[in-house]
């Protein structure tokens, strides 16, 4: 880990959480809280977008129940930072899977620090921070599935990843190739020998 402190943006409506996390981070060093927000209003979205945070720690309680499973991707739309959940109420396991790490309010200070470090490691291998312009091996696999007409849900099940990760991969594939339509991606896959033409149709 580099000498410069990793910047953290905290989104929680709870003062106890905000002060508690700040206290733990002060003791251990390596991390510094840059900004604390109490919700993700439109105004605060801009703050997240403009922030240089390395990690966003969020209490998923700020998302209403219906939109909670989408919470992680709402933050990922704004920033490439790792996203760690710090739920104050009993978390929904499915939704927690989308986060790079989950901090429990019962974790020891050492466990919190180690989870934050992990989140950075996970996140650097994830599609969000992949700045190389060539398609990654995983993106190629997913592109082939798209070209074969598979739905996002089917792709998620095959690779044991969340549907949001599939969507992120697809966004990145389109951003890199400039190709938006499924038919166009099929042309790409065939021209680049990602698919054996004999297996199509």
């Amino acid at each position: 880990m580099s000498v410069t402190k990793k910047k953290i943006l905290l989104i929680t409506p709870s003062h106890i959480m905000a002060r508690g996390i700040a206290g733990i981070l002060e003791e251990h060093g390596g991390f510094a809280i840059e900004t604390v927000l109490t919700d993700l209003s439109r105004e605060n979205e801009a703050t997240v977008r403009d922030s240089m945070a390395d990690i966003v720690i969020v209490d998923p309680v700020i998302f209403d129940y219906a939109s909670r499973p989408l919470g992680r991707s709402r933050i990922s739309d704004l920033t490439d930072a790792a996203v760690v959940a710090a739920p104050t109420v009993l978390p929904d396991d499915e939704a927690m899977k989308n986060y790079d790490e989950t901090i429990s309010i019962y974790d020891s200070p050492a466990a919190v620090i180690s989870k934050l470090r992990n989140s950075l490691a996970h996140s650097s291998g994830s599609p969000r921070t992949d700045n190389r312009e060539e398609l990654s091996a995983r993106e190629k696999e997913i592109l082939v599935c798209v070209a074969r007409g598979m739905l996002n849900k089917e792709i998620a099940d095959r690779f044991h990843i969340s549907i949001y990760t599939v969507i992120t991969h697809r966004k990145n594939i389109t951003r890199k190739t400039g190709i938006k339509t499924v038919a166009g991606l099929t042309v790409y896959a065939l021209l680049n020998n990602l698919i054996d033409p004999a297996t199509m149709e």
Binding site: T177, A183, G184, V187, L191
Partner: protein, 225 residues
């Protein structure tokens, strides 16, 4: 942009207007005549021509109420119809020939894959145009004649007027980025410049439908009742 400008000056300043005047039925050879004179001789409503020319010349152009009232919905529909024929019979035909040429050194698999995509695009465009030709334009003609048709309105058209630019955009990226290296570069450039021209012109075409045809017919619908 004024009616007493020389037509040659107007077209000379923006060559995209060449295909516009063609689609309106105005022939070249207008010499020193003004925009108004040229339009009158070709039987074209001069205000309609200026509306269309303004969409080409000005980014984000919003016509004034006077402009909209002065122009003719019938002429506009005639222009849009001529545009459809121009795209299908000239631009897409030509592109199809250029692609045949471009892909001739490729393997049959590569040729098939790209031509099938091209044909898919052509089919999408044909369907999009056919809906407008069969449903929308007859409706506009009857509303312009003061007759409201039951069961259809410009609002329905507005809601269903989808974009058909995605596949064209994909095609441009495929030719630019992923064409097999055996293809001839000069032919590829020819294909690309035609694709770009078509893409830009279709964008103006959609703009004319959305920002002129729809508000114009909305106004006429009000008059019918």
């Amino acid at each position: 942009m004024r009616k007493n400008m020389k037509m040659a000056d107007l077209v000379g300043a923006d060559y995209r207007l060449l295909t516009v005047i063609y689609r309106l039925g105005i022939k070249l050879g207008f010499g020193e005549k003004t925009v108004e004179e040229t339009c009158r001789e070709s039987g074209v409503n001069c205000d309609t021509f200026l509306l269309i020319a303004n969409v080409y010349a000005t980014e984000g152009y919003v016509p004034t109420t006077e402009m909209m009232t002065a122009a003719s919905a019938i002429d506009l529909v005639r222009y849009l119809h001529a545009s459809h024929s121009y795209y299908l019979d000239h631009e897409i035909q030509d592109l199809s020939r250029i692609f045949e040429d471009l892909l001739s050194p490729c393997t049959p698999m590569q040729r098939d894959v790209i031509m099938r995509f091209f044909d898919g695009y052509r089919e999408e465009v044909e369907n999009h145009f056919a809906y407008e030709e069969d449903i929308v334009f007859p409706y506009v003609r009857s509303v312009a004649g003061g007759q409201r048709v039951e069961g259809y309105s410009m609002e329905t058209f507005e809601e269903n007027h989808n974009n058909i630019d995605e596949k064209l955009n994909d095609l441009r990226n495929i030719v630019m980025k992923y064409l097999p290296p055996v293809c001839d570069t000069v032919t590829a450039i020819r294909a690309l410049s035609r694709l770009c021209t078509l893409e830009a012109d279709l964008e103006k075409h959609t703009l004319i439908e959305n920002s002129i045809l729809i508000p114009m017919v909305n106004r006429l619908e009000g008059k019918c009742q």
